[in-house]
Subunit: 285 residues, 2 copies
């Protein structure tokens, strides 16, 4: 059991983690730290955290588990504020959607990736944010990717693995670079497309009609464009090169589709649509 | 009340229409015509249609309402097969996602858009197809767009309007060209992007991992890529120019996003994301 968990950033992801751990009696005490007092008060009232810390230093003092659950752009300063205040037996982990940038942040602050810092990424979430949107079941049946380095402490890896297993998630390990490539394709690019399309349509003359006559398909397609803009700016900035690579491939593929339409190549288009449908049905059918 | 409805194409859209009409006692008899005998038998068993016609001519004979609910590419031959078999008091309507091509098809077959042919488009559907996927509530709270021409018979417009109102839908009228532009942006382009992205990802080396580690956001985003490929090939072919126009605008906007990422313009990116989130939340919040 975790003796004291310091939750830095008390939102959907961190709040849901703690709710799940409490249901499984996997944590004794949770100390919360965050920038928005209203949100922290809500977390207190809802029993997500036991008390509020006024600083990162205060939050991590005496904690055996520190979970960094803030947007990627806020991680480096948080690391800096931890220095000198961490307990001997601490394990630190994060929930960022990009792992290369977290390793870089750690190296910049600590000079190396500390053996007790295990980068992690729970593949779960909704388009909502804040502790009010958190719920204990968020991670059930979902996957959590850990990206430890070869020098990481196996005991620390095991403690982070156990914590996430308690939430009902499947925990897997992956190399940092590979994680960032896969997530660029499967998560970061779709978010980018959804944001870009909604914005593109919103700037057209008949935008009110466009949204008025949109059907359920568009509602689902564009759901991720309701995600937190700061978080996604940070993700795009933190994972620039893999994201540009996958975007560039997609843009080329899209140009081929455009050519098929322009040239009236219905058969080629149908082949492409059928292939896509088959793949999607296989994975989600 | 409709005396005899000829349903040409007994799938999700037509089947749901008839189920809703039956619930409201808005139709006495339904004759079904289609290419797939299994599907027609299912429609008979489930009481969606009362009998099967072996030809379009047989189906429309004596019908006071003909609903053409087949993929756009199949409409022109159906129109041809109707010639000489329609009743004096008939109204013909369709459910196609593009209206310009239906008007063209009618002109090619009938020499003009007949006053009794009222092009229509119910903005509803799911990624499923076939009569087995149909349900009476599909149109509740949805919109149905009619695109009559100035010369259309007002009585025919009224009869189609009444039919759709019985399903719980809101019926609006729009000009043909405007309909096709709005739908290109709000429906056809998102489908194209979803198909293209799923196919693009499926052809990458780590495709199995990509789909394995996709989260709920991607599942929603890509749902429309499970739609019927023939239907969507026909839509793309029938609405080529408006679709190419909106696709070209989107590609330019996407290139700007790419530049923002490449140049590390986090603020500009956040502004765009925030704008998109605001618009989406306004319309679906």
């Amino acid at each position: 059991m975790i003796r004291r968990l310091a939750l830095l950033g008390v939102g959907l992801i961190g709040g849901s983690l703690v709710r799940a751990l409490r249901q499984q009696r996997g944590v004794a005490e949770v100390v919360g730290y965050g920038r928005h007092r209203d949100n922290l008060n809500q977390a207190l009232e809802q029993g997500v955290i036991d008390r509020v810390a006024d600083s990162v230093a205060e939050a991590v003092t005496g904690a055996d588990m520190v979970v960094v659950a803030v947007p990627l752009g806020a991680i480096r300063p948080l690391f800096s504020e931890m220095v000198g205040h961490l307990a001997e037996d601490v394990v630190v982990t994060d929930v960022g959607s990009v792992k290369g940038s977290v390793v870089e942040d750690a190296k910049a602050v600590f000079g190396t990736l500390p053996v007790w810092l295990i980068p992690a990424h729970p593949i779960a979430g909704t388009e909502k944010s804040g502790v009010a949107a958190s719920f204990a079941e968020l991670y059930q049946g979902r996957r959590v990717i850990l990206t430890p380095l070869p020098e990481s402490d196996p005991v620390a890896v095991e403690r982070v693995t156990e914590m996430w297993r308690l939430t009902g998630a499947e925990v897997v390990e992956m190399e940092v670079e590979h994680h960032d490539e896969v997530l660029a394709a499967t998560s970061h690019l779709p978010h980018l497309l959804a944001y870009a399309l909604v914005d593109s349509l919103a700037r057209q003359p008949s935008q009110r009609e466009i949204f008025h006559f949109a059907a359920g398909g568009f509602r689902d397609f564009s759901r991720i464009a309701s995600s937190n803009p700061t978080m996604w700016r940070d993700i795009a900035m933190a994972n620039r090169q893999p994201l540009l690579d996958t975007l560039s491939r997609f843009r080329q593929d899209l140009e081929q589709v455009e050519t098929m339409i322009r040239d009236g190549e219905g058969d080629a288009l149908q082949t492409l649509f059928s292939r896509a449908k088959q793949v999607r049905d296989e994975h989600y059918g």
